[in-house]
Symmetry: D2
Subunit: 336 residues, 4 copies
């Protein structure tokens, strides 16, 4: 399904090499000022990533809003928007027409639909994440008005964790015609206690679904995460106390990652998302064509070596939509 | 929200120490034989775990079906069922009435609802996972008729990975009044290519949401998972080939974990779920009461030292509901 | 689907002659006192109707609550409940096993599911409306705390509109072994302006769906209704004015039925629901058996002559759930 | 909410005088040929109605498809589309800025959102129904490939029921500066038995919600409709028989309107929708301004005298989306 969220909902459309991508944001609270230039800045972050080594495809990614805003404010009605695919050279992809690229969605889309737009990955292309950035930046602006902020950063590329080493790792992979994976860490501050729903709608379940829906994401953990498995309970206790400065209950440590029993406790929410190396590499790889004959795939042209730098803003966007949705849900389940 | 799924949906109710827990399963395909004894066996697996060291609370967990079945077959109508809370001694929990247990949902439920059933965790208790086992076992029986099977096992307890060591680790934690975490690994075989939806409904996003909604789950990864972050793309290529024996496209390796572009490719789907140590330990811990005064919590009585053994069947149940839901959704993708 | 509503949601289960019917109410705001005796009174209204001529089946319809309530208050968690089918004599229905009763769901269920519980209509029986009464009465109690009230009454039986004539019409139909239809009118007072959603979620669309889901309902109209089709616009203008007594905008007339552009305007909401005569009559009728052979159906036993008296409380219940759902949804519209 | 449907879903956006209206269609089965010229023809039907007396606003209503189609076929992915508002002269509506038009959504939107786009009704304008026509025509093309067809027509304008009289009634209302209502009747043929869901998802409930969401709709009835209330059960029996020509069970009459127990029985589905007279009339009417002061509204310019001719194609479109959605749901709840 192409809709994300319960109250604040983004419906997403668009193939990589069709006329345009875009979406509809529903459930937007009324009366908020939206800074359109900020949305464009976030789209630019996604386009270029945080490193100079990303794909050089010249997508201008200019978003055009079609509804739901009047004199700069949200009307409470659905916000439609489009981003044209200005630089869609389908010819680059003719080689893909009759071949299944390994680790891509080529074969699975064909199996599912019996038809596919093979150009540039079509619907499976990460190009659709631009739509998420628009939905997420609108959400983040509303959240900031509530004192909530979200910041993600790259915490690992391959085996490296310092900026210089990570950059060098990406460049080296590129030089070798290879690709490399990494981890993005995200922190959400200012979340009030009480967001998230019991049982199936736990806040970590909503966040996990959001993050694992991003292209190339292979893992999600929050708070003490996978490391919890290695520890004793006595090592991970977050003792609560009453903090006079902030006039609220806090915890001395935050192994819980800001969520207890599926519901936010007012501490920072933090989590990690693991991304695999890009599947497209500049080396010959063994595969089959659409007639199931063995063949060798040789990719050329512009491709990201590492998706992680461009995914940072996407992680923030998905987190923003998730938290705003949880905030609106929490409002809708109380009358007082 | 207390409903899981899109087409095959489980709606879940019940507090730990109320009269009963139970649920309603909707979207069940009609005409399938359901083995009620098998459901009871799976409930027994959940109750006792796979080790002798779990909580000795004597829950008989007898499920009673109220609708949706006739002469042993599914009617296609909603299946209501209840499991009575036969051994609910609320007095054990009077000590919890005015205290917030660290790392539990006590404070967050109070913050969210302004009211809570403090007895045994109320709605936040893992007791509700019995309801998931019922929903999951019905799903699994239908899946098995399609040739799909699901098996989970414990792959880590603390720092240990062999059965003997894992058991000893649990016993040692118990002896020390402590608790311990671990990892459950799950494998799904026989899934046809084509399940999962593009963009937000990717199969890994559905599975992640399902798994992260289980009490004490802290992380999810599928296929090459977090390990992907450390590797080069050239190391993780799953080259496809046509397998004459099975008369279908397969891949030589399966780093993808059976899912490419969010859609199953016919290979086994496998994933890991990390669980934290149980938050209730038999040692005095610093906390606050509901009036925000500092106090020391001393827990007594019957408590699991490690939730992992009992969670194995819950992981299988959530996986079964997710895969059946995806299978039913996929039926609407093509009309021919 | 067996779930009604968006935020306040009732999931419904149960066949007429299975062990029990029941449901799960989700999205219930926390902290409200619920009068269980009042719920039982409303169930009794449904059971006996408002006339002495209804089916004499002795259903005690005792509802048992299993969760979501603690010390008389809503916890905010899902409320599970069951009503046992204490008087389910399946033998009465053996005659129905191999026959399709005209105007019933026998054939359509068989066509849809390939299997059916033929006893007493199974899932298609109006018995399931008892579940709606429970969900609706919980909703109505919460609405009343907000100053909203809902009252329905019978406005027509056959061609008659006065109580005495309507009662006589039902008795006469019964004497003739026939059945008779009618109309229920419903009024909702105290609804604040601003409930309902634009476009597809218009308040009248939500109400229409709710009412047309009741067994035997054949038509819905609100405000000036079908009569609007016969009039000029100049005859149906509701001029607004500022009412100093209530300190709010009101309209001098209310042809709009309290809803304009899909959203409540603060005036009373009123609507009519038409019900067909009961399909089961005490006369021989031409039909076919499950082998498609022509046959004559002769019904015996206890059957309602007119469903309308018993449906009054069901109309109120569905209206209450709809309005509370819209009220909760509206809470997410503005954050300030 | 701005999304209609469960599997086949239309998400709708756009204000009357913003840059564009449009939508996203999700859940479209893959591999169907779509005739784009036919969609344009249906949009033209909506624009001009079936009479020469409609609003002369020159909306070209050219739809532009942005995704989900490749070489004329549906890809199974979401179809995004936009229709520009080429003739949006906002100045015509400056008079509306500070006034609440009676029977319009002006006051209710202000009450709901605290902000509104006053130009031409904004989101509440019937202009959004063009989006429904696109979604409905795509659905109808898929339905036709299954042998299902949908036809609606005007059956009443004011007190008249013949074409000549209906046309004269509209012209007379126009000459008098007034407006007039009417009824649209719709017939759906070729629907297989088994569509619709028990309890809340009855096919008539889905249709009622769809129709009552259309601007100016005031009532819905199907089969014997409101007339059922006046009749005895013996007068409305649809006796089933086995029809050798079509090799299936049919009924001798069709008072049921093709739906029994909420599920289609294979006979034609038919229903009526009542529309009120347009609220905008060319006569001075008493109202208030946004400061609650009494004033007189005098409307000028281009306005429909009767919405019914233009609504015919909208009724067909909503019916088509509803039936396709029910068809897809019925597929998704069966595995065989």
């Amino acid at each position: 399904m192409n809709t994300f969220g319960n109250i604040y909902r983004l419906t997403n459309f668009g193939e990589s090499h069709g006329p345009a991508i875009g979406g509809v944001i529903d459930g937007v609270p009324a009366g908020y000022d939206i800074d359109l230039a900020e949305i464009q800045r976030q789209l630019d972050r996604r386009r270029t990533g945080q490193s100079p080594t990303d794909s050089s495809r010249n997508e201008t990614d200019k978003v055009k809003f079609l509804s739901g805003l009047y004199e700069g404010k949200t009307l409470g009605t659905s916000i439609g928007f489009v981003i044209e695919n200005s630089d869609a050279k389908s010819r680059d992809y003719d080689a893909c027409k009759n071949i299944y690229r390994p680790n891509h969605a080529d074969y699975t889309y064909q199996a599912k639909y019996g038809i596919r737009d093979y150009r540039g990955g079509g619907r499976a292309s990460a190009r659709e994440t631009a739509v998420r950035v628009v939905g997420g930046t609108v959400a983040l602006q509303i959240l900031k008005a509530q004192g909530i902020d979200i910041k993600a950063h790259i915490s690992r590329i391959g085996t490296h964790t310092t900026p210089e080493e990570m950059l060098r790792e990406i460049e080296q992979a590129k030089a070798e015609g290879d690709s490399v994976g990494g981890i993005i860490s995200c922190n959400i501050s200012g979340v009030p206690a009480g967001l998230g729903e019991p049982v199936f709608g736990k806040l970590q379940a909503m966040l996990a679904s959001a993050m694992m829906s991003i292209n190339a994401a292979k893992g999600f953990e929050y708070g003490s995460g996978f490391d919890s498995a290695y520890h004793r309970g006595s090592q991970l206790i977050d003792s609560p106390y009453f903090d006079k400065d902030s006039n609220r209950v806090r915890t001395r440590t935050n192994y819980s990652g800001g969520i207890q029993g599926g519901i936010s406790n007012g501490e920072d929410i933090y989590f990690n998302v693991a991304f695999k190396p890009v599947a497209t590499i500049m080396r010959p790889i063994e595969t089959i064509d659409t007639e199931s004959n063995s063949t060798i795939l040789r990719m050329h042209g512009r491709h990201d070596v590492c998706v992680v730098p461009r995914a940072v803003v996407v992680v923030e966007a998905m987190a923003a939509m998730t938290i705003l949705d949880a905030l609106l849900l929490s409002r809708a389940t109380q009358l007082q």
